[in-house]
Symmetry: D3
Subunit: 281 residues, 6 copies
């Protein structure tokens, strides 16, 4: 796993284990001998885009460093229905105590990657990016944004601190798009681009005039998007946003805009079906 | 909010705010004056079962204790499409910085309650309970199980520590259902019932014979469930589990079993559409 | 140590070490060379039931992973006065800095196990269980309940979350035992038994009639306990509680009740005498 | 409560509450209405020295700031058997959920103060101090040392960081008492006195010669203590330590030594009997 | 204080208080009565740019919410030598226990603001920005970057996560500036500008050709900077960096570059002289 | 590193890494392959007293345990300008992500050691100690006090908990030096010396008369210090404090006082110049 964010992911994993284990796995500890070893298959029960296999593996190693996960597939791979993703070996007590937490991560993240891929398949990725939003599950953003990348999507800003997005309330408070942009330029680091959310073509023109680097087209029609593209003439990045579905994304992607943000890939992906089955020997 | 778990929920909220805010809301702090006050409507954009309105409110009060949320609806209520859930008043900077985090909680939890309600509406709640599972989003279990209750469902055990569920791997390691039950009875507190997961009618008979308090019928057919009910004769609780859908739950609920556990209500509920709109004055 | 609660115990250990070490062991670091190795005996200075030897060992390994503890006895064993429990080897600085914290755990937990055993020896464990209460030292419950098991006792519920105990104030607020039980049955998970605390024989009858699974007989006389047993006829578990001593437990255990809870085994056990002696070579 | 250590005590309290409450007080939340208010007496059921009444109170205010504790007695006071210590008013749900944790603190700390007082009553406090040791319950040292003061005792160093105590293993590693003292003097802050543990009269002489400020007389006889006093002639403080009991402390206190350290007052005090009784109105 | 980063600053403050107070302010608690109130002047003993007055105030309110700080000056103001910055009122015990920690923050942050101002005074701020670096004191970055702004400087990226800076080692690993830029463009969010560090004029040309948004001129001469400016022709932002001093910044600022980063303003600012004097009444 | 405070230092390191890395090193992770290994020189670019090399090394091992630092010099050594301090080997991604944090520690701590040494070189260390104060950077005291020792200085008390210093406000509240000392003696552990801060010769006399162990001479002239020395006649330790500079320390050190405390060595040391240079192979 990438060392630069490993400590954050360990916190998420430890928190999840503590949530499930509390003062102990009362069933397993009463029945299973601590010396008992076992082996289990991790099995895709539908076709998925895999995401989170390292998190899955680390759940077990945080519990018991001697549990080993050997993988056949890597994050980002398509795993066909019925195929083994990998084999887990180690103490039965650790495997049974960690199973549900590990699967909860893997099924959730692979669900996001799998749904993202469905959106990406509708567009030409050489011309336009499917990107995520901040509509993520509280506490899991770093993992969910990772899963989006595994599904072929890209990330928007991580949070409120690493990207500038001037929204309608900011504009209203500042008085106008130009005034909001002036305040931003006078204050923020030079390392960030400035994106402005606009609701109509007039907004597109004002934002370009005021020196925006990118424009979020909020709930615009395909017709308006095309108009925005012809106004922009490549001077700014254009992001389509708002209510985009698997049905509408194809047409939107052909308007010439650069980015399509889809909240549903993180906030409404269902878990995919993956199971862990102990192998009788 | 219930004082007995408030400190846990505050941790979840603070963690989510930190995730989104990091070293600060760079756009808002550059544009909005800290003295600016505002007002916003919280609006249901589809019919929902509300869940999480106190969490929504507390996100803002953790950021800025002077932000006040006045609610028209309470958790568990049906909010029709287009109706206001409440009004938020306070500093604009606090409202804009907390908005996304607060909505992420509310949309996710109301999504769970709304989906749970759809399952509950298919059954006769005086005869059978729809219950949740441990297939929850890592870190949010306490809130998701609360949302299930708001949707008319009930909770299964919280984690591995507050309920006993003897699964196939436990049985295999112990040698038999009877041996597993004997080990449990010799070790665990008298305050917990003992539930056994079985895969066939023979398992039902063995579990009853060995003194189980409840039996989880794993992926059984409706015919098998009926047989289990007639064997049990009210001596144990029977829980149907595995692949239950909105289509199948009605028929299952009429077999005479006592509990129907549905993983989908927590692991695959989509976010519902709720928005926060600043009121121009 | 059991992997399912290891992270919780590590938090307790780290907290204890931080309490004692603060910004450093000023005496040891000024005098002892960091390369100096040593060896020490862990010695029982009275007959004890051992509990906490893995915690003792882990205190050192949290400080310095190269310190090794080799044990002759295991938790639950009787260690006669004057016998070595084990040998510790490693850096002197780590051994001296961790000594007091490690012994504080071991002497406290072995004290609980040793006292528990004295109670257990007064009863016939095939017929009745000595159980603990929630009267534990704040922050150490998971370890103290473990020590009770090492002394031959059993655990009651861990906390307020994993067992139901309806007390007089709950009954008063609900209006009656039956009403309190009805509320509980309508709300709580099916995985938990329901225990009711009663103060007289009338309470026993009401609780059984209302469907309790277990009844706590609060401060009843031996005569009343016998009456409760004859009323219950095995339909519910009966727990004797309140002011039970080493003198009274024997007679109580013969009444036919199932469980005897003793607060003193956790809240009033004295530390046993164990010392760590550096071996001169 | 003293503001300079309040944040530490809040951590201890929050940890204890979390231990007991976990994901919630399942009995109370199912039965008690959140609007129900109540009142309870805090009652001494034996004669005690009170210690921890502010901690007791703060347990409730951490749970629910509107619960109020009005006290008749203060820490350090003698409370006779059968007297009310105070009255608690507020929400029943908060009172019932916090009761056990609050009492666990109060009974444990008052137990320490009460036992300390018994030792102090055997000596002339104008001539000699009863002091504690580092043999405290892991995680509770700050509170236990406070309870010792409430019982009329004094504190030894808090931990390994705020006092120097050269023990036999330090002396062995340094080569001699003089060499150990020389190393200490060359390294440690000038704000700390230097105490040396010795086992015989020869050690007393060496320690004084090498410039110790205080000497711990480890397990010496009364006769040896007297000899040490006559050698010291007031040039160093003398601390008696090791196996001191209520029977032996009186004679020891008359030897002329300055300090008597007693491990038992913290590691082996039993909880005193205090109860919280809801007042029916 | 800005609500969007208050929780982070509270963590820093609490950590600092815990560092200084440990298990308690032993001198103050032994001498000062907890009911004693007092008043103190906060006094500049040299001319300073004030930064951190809200942190100063919050140190006290975290300890004791009833301590109040009334300020004559605000962050960013010039306070002349000998002038009062404000008045503190409240309990003496809280004031004495918090004094050193509060002053350590204020003197350190005002030191940074004061030094930053000296650099800013050498340049024409309408044409060029003095910016900070990541050479900050570990754990205090959010406060130090705030102090830079109070001194009239601007911030560079906060950390490795909110800005892109391609350095020589990145270029070496990628093979060339163009290849490094291509990788960045293929992976990172569209919200971030891309800055490249170059060591010579050739690098400037390559970076512009490859589509960089900004270029860091590492340790270039004034002559080279001018050449870079004439090559850039406003297409990219140019940042001068490396060994810039109060002597050299003036000339550098006139070359036409846009940004001058100065590590010394954070890593080598001395504390300014501010004292807190209790007012005798 | 000393095991007795390692866990505290790990917290400081982890906090610093989290501050810089946040949700990830966006530049490095986009460009550098996780399998790429490298090697870098750690190079002194001016003459320094080294302090913090173990912290430097541990920053990398916390990120990636396979990164190894081999050192030529140890803390406390003089490293001449242009000499290599050591070699770092391991994954490039870990080295680049940890570089700035590791250097920030090393440059800051070596800065303190180097400045301390300059003060120490002005005095005769066999007769007088240069000591630090509590004027340290919030959160880094344990490291900064370590750096002072590496520079040949000594430590004063760590915080408010491990040393007694009676200041003017304490004296004012108590009524007189004697009364303040009496209160202290009646309350605090016998393990701590008692130091009193005085402003004039009269204070010196009173403090000695009242039984102080040490006296802090606050902002006294050299003449007054000599007078204090002649009054003290070795009965108490004398500490010179207040505005001591590299110019004045020499003369002060010859007055016969025992300790000279210098705030500047911690609060105003500049970072020294140390760089990490990847070695091309």
């Amino acid at each position: 796993m990438r060392v630069d964010y490993l400590s954050q992911i360990d916190k998420i994993i430890d928190n999840a284990l503590e949530e499930d284990l509390g003062p102990g796995d009362i069933t397993t500890s009463a029945i299973i001998d601590s010396s008992l070893k076992g082996k289990a298959r991790l099995l895709a029960k539908e076709e998925i885009i895999l995401a989170g296999i390292e998190v899955f593996s680390r759940v077990f190693s945080r519990l018991d460093p001697e549990i080993v996960v050997e993988c056949t597939y890597r994050d980002g791979d398509v795993v066909p229905n019925g195929y083994d993703i990998g084999i887990i070996r180690g103490s039965m007590i650790g495997m049974l105590s960690g199973e549900r937490t590990a699967l909860n991560f893997l099924q959730h993240l692979s669900g996001i990657a799998t749904l993202t891929k469905r959106y990406v398949e509708k567009i030409d990725p050489s011309k336009v990016r499917v990107i995520d939003t901040r509509k993520t599950t509280p506490g899991l953003r770093i993992l969910e944004k990772y899963a989006v990348r595994m599904g072929g999507g890209f990330n928007h800003r991580f949070g409120l601190f690493d990207g500038i997005l001037i929204k309608d309330n900011h504009i209203a408070a500042a008085g106008s798009i130009s005034k909001a942009l002036a305040k931003i330029k006078a204050n923020v680091p030079h390392t960030l681009k400035i994106e402005v959310e606009v609701e109509d073509i007039k907004g597109v023109e004002e934002a370009i005039g005021a020196g925006a680097d990118a424009i979020l087209l909020d709930n615009m029609s395909v017709k308006e998007m095309k108009e925005a593209v012809s106004i922009a003439r490549g001077r700014v990045l254009l992001e389509a946003s708002g209510g985009i579905t698997l049905e509408s994304i194809g047409e939107i992607s052909k308007t010439g805009i650069n980015l399509i943000s889809v909240g549903a890939i993180t906030h409404s992906a269902r878990s995919v079906d993956i199971s862990l089955e102990v192998i009788k020997e």
